[in-house]
Symmetry: C2
Subunit: 423 residues, 2 copies
């Protein structure tokens, strides 16, 4: 290899937790540990780029390899894979533009040099890919050679350039399972009642769509699902519920936390002060609660709202085996492509049908130029939402279904899932 | 047997769903099906005693036995056991006193005679045991021989006369697992934040106590748990959080939905004051939400509240194997004791330590006179709550821990747990 680059690597995790983000970390660790002649050391940065700036680094090879240099799968890698949320810690730091704050990037550069870091792996969502893009842009203005790779992660499945994102499958499996159980729970009484389940996903309705999976699998799902891709209409919503009451007394619907009226107001606005996070995203809560009040007023029947909340993204005890495997492969491919010379890219998954695989599909793992990916949101296509806007099509569900296949063989300790925790 | 009673049996489910109530039903079905010379037919009543009054009955033997008369475990009984919520449907009907409404009981009696029902099994919590008690009382005034048995069920674990209740172990396992995952999720950021998890159990704190189990198992649980058995003091609560902030930036607490101030007001009532939704309605936000607002106002830091809600009681995908087995045994013993001649009793579990059993304990299943059980609530003993009232003792946790042991070998269909549904 004429572009061989020998030195240390650093890996970080950023953005919101998922059940699969540690599997991507495990993939990075495994691929690096299998290439110690090139990647001489592997540092984990605590709390993403923020911790890196404070030099809070852990050497990972000693923790994840046995005396003979091979990866300690049973003792360390598998426990890491079944642990939810970013084991290295996370941050939500938005990097400045290199042109606006050169001193910031010079500080980063001095640290890269200090630790001889030649490989930089960052596991995260849209905002993390923005970090990868800016770092790549800055490095072009220097003569320091370092390869920067993004590893996708987001339960929201809204990253551009990849068929789907690691973390989505496990969150979808959790949501679909919970919906299936909630539908059973709500079916026991004969009294008219409406149950509204609020699902994560501010800008894209992929997770809310997953709430409808039980319908495809066993014919029993929520009556309707409302995605943020379609304007929410209160009268149409009431009409939907009325129609459902004609069929059965227990109406169950799923609604995205990001549901908006035609005028752009969030359905859940009002209970919140309008605070925004550091990236300018409006903080949302209360879509389910707002609809609960509206239904109670309109129908006068029993109403309950359920916010699935954090467990959606950290429900590792119910992780999709397919998802964790793919997450690990994304991490591994990021390392392998970087060693081969790629930089400024995110590993994307390309799905292709293949009947030889148990779930009828497999993925290619390809580096995609990061500039085309960062800061764009991929929505559920309109044609995968029924014309009435109150459900998704079977085609949409058939697209999601393979991603929730298989159960991770969780190792339990005294009745609880065993978690890997860095000291 | 000189007290042999031959005829049909009827079984019903009542009260709120649990993950184990269908295992008790499965136990009743299995024991009856093994004694068809005595229990000639087994009816399931839809929606408890309400459905029975409307003669909505299903014959269960044909659905659960194979051609040779043996129980169809794989095809029907196991799927039923892993299905959450009352498969037969439920009701919340409170029976009148026999002396107050004799006509009501005469109607019941005429139905018992019509279907030659000689065994009546009712699976449920406090209110259901009240039904069993009243039916028993009424039958004493007639010359109709029917044996009435209660099978305990409640996630709340607050029934008198039994060591613990079927349904509690699975709910406790779900809550402890979720807490463990939430603690991991909340640990990823370095920003000061408080996460408040609201747990079911209006009158007794058993489930909230279970939220502390991860502390015993892996040293990482919520910082505090607040049970309804101890008056909630807002200043002490703020003091607790301040102390926790000295140790780490991410404070996680669990609080019972039934937490009350010393003057008897529910903590969840406090939130009614200010909050209004997008439609201008005031609403009762709940205990977690009320504390979220209080903490936000007092500390000004990031605060989140999570209501675990229905999934706590219907999370059958995460059922405790121990719990489902015990639930089934309670059902079986109810049938066997009734066949032997017992009536007007609930099957209670009596725990004894036995190192020969994998979890260090086993249970005896004993009939307890129903009158002593109905309409009383068993609380967490004060000595199992630390003097400060903000946590439970290790002794308490060691008492709960055996009940969450083992995972039910869930059968999956296309990535979701397979459920048994009566048509």
């Amino acid at each position: 290899m004429n572009n061989r680059l020998i030195g240390a690597a650093v890996v970080g995790q950023s953005g919101g937790p998922t059940a699969a983000i540690n599997s991507s970390l495990a993939g990075v660790i495994e691929a690096c540990a299998n290439n110690t002649d090139t990647v001489t050391k592997l540092y984990g940065m605590r709390n993403g780029i923020e911790g890196f700036l404070e030099e809070r680094l852990i050497e990972l090879y000693p923790l994840f390899t046995l005396a003979d240099g091979t990866v300690d799968r049973k003792g360390a890698l598998y426990p890491l894979m079944q642990t939810p949320a970013s084991a290295l810690g996370s941050c939500r730091k938005k990097l400045p533009k290199p042109s606006e704050d050169p001193a910031f990037f010079e500080r980063l550069l001095s640290l890269f040099k200090k630790y001889d870091i030649r490989y930089f792996f960052y596991i995260g969502g849209n905002d993390s890919m923005d970090t990868v893009a800016k770092l790549t842009e800055y490095l072009k203005t220097t003569d320091y050679e370092m390869r920067v790779m993004g590893v996708p992660k987001t339960i929201d499945n809204d990253l551009m350039g990849t068929d789907h994102t690691p973390g989505f499958g496990s969150a979808a499996k959790f949501i679909a399972t919970e919906m299936s159980e909630i539908v059973r729970d709500c079916a026991v009484y004969t009294v008219k009642a409406v149950t509204i389940v609020e699902i994560m996903g501010r800008d894209a309705g992929w997770l809310t769509a997953a709430a409808a999976l039980p319908k495809l699998v066993n014919g029993e799902g929520p009556d309707y699902v409302y995605l943020p891709e379609v304007s929410f209409d209160m009268d149409a919503f009431f009409g939907d519920i009325e129609k459902a009451f004609e069929k059965h007394p227990n109406v169950v619907v799923a609604v995205s936390e990001g549901a908006q009226f035609a005028d752009g107001r969030y359905v859940g606005e009002g209970a919140q002060s309008g605070a925004a996070d550091v990236f300018g995203h409006k903080y949302l809560a209360g879509t389910g609660k707002a609809l609960e009040m509206a239904v109670k007023e309109h129908f006068g029947c029993k109403v309950r709202s359920i916010e699935l909340n954090l467990p959606q993204r950290c429900g590792a005890h119910l992780a999709s085996r397919k998802d964790l495997s793919e997450a690990s492969l994304c991490g591994q491919h990021a390392v392998l492509k970087a060693i081969e010379g790629t930089t400024g890219a995110m590993i994307a998954m390309e799905r292709f049908e293949d009947k030889n695989f148990p779930d009828g599909y497999a993925c290619r793992y390809l580096p995609k130029e990061i500039a085309a990916i960062a800061n764009a949101v991929r929505e559920v296509p309109r044609e995968w939402i029924v014309p009435e806007g109150n459900n998704v099509t079977d085609e949409c569900l058939r697209w999601i279904l393979p991603l929730i296949q298989g159960e991770w063989p969780v190792v339990w300790k005294d009745g609880l899932p065993a978690h890997f925790v860095f000291d």
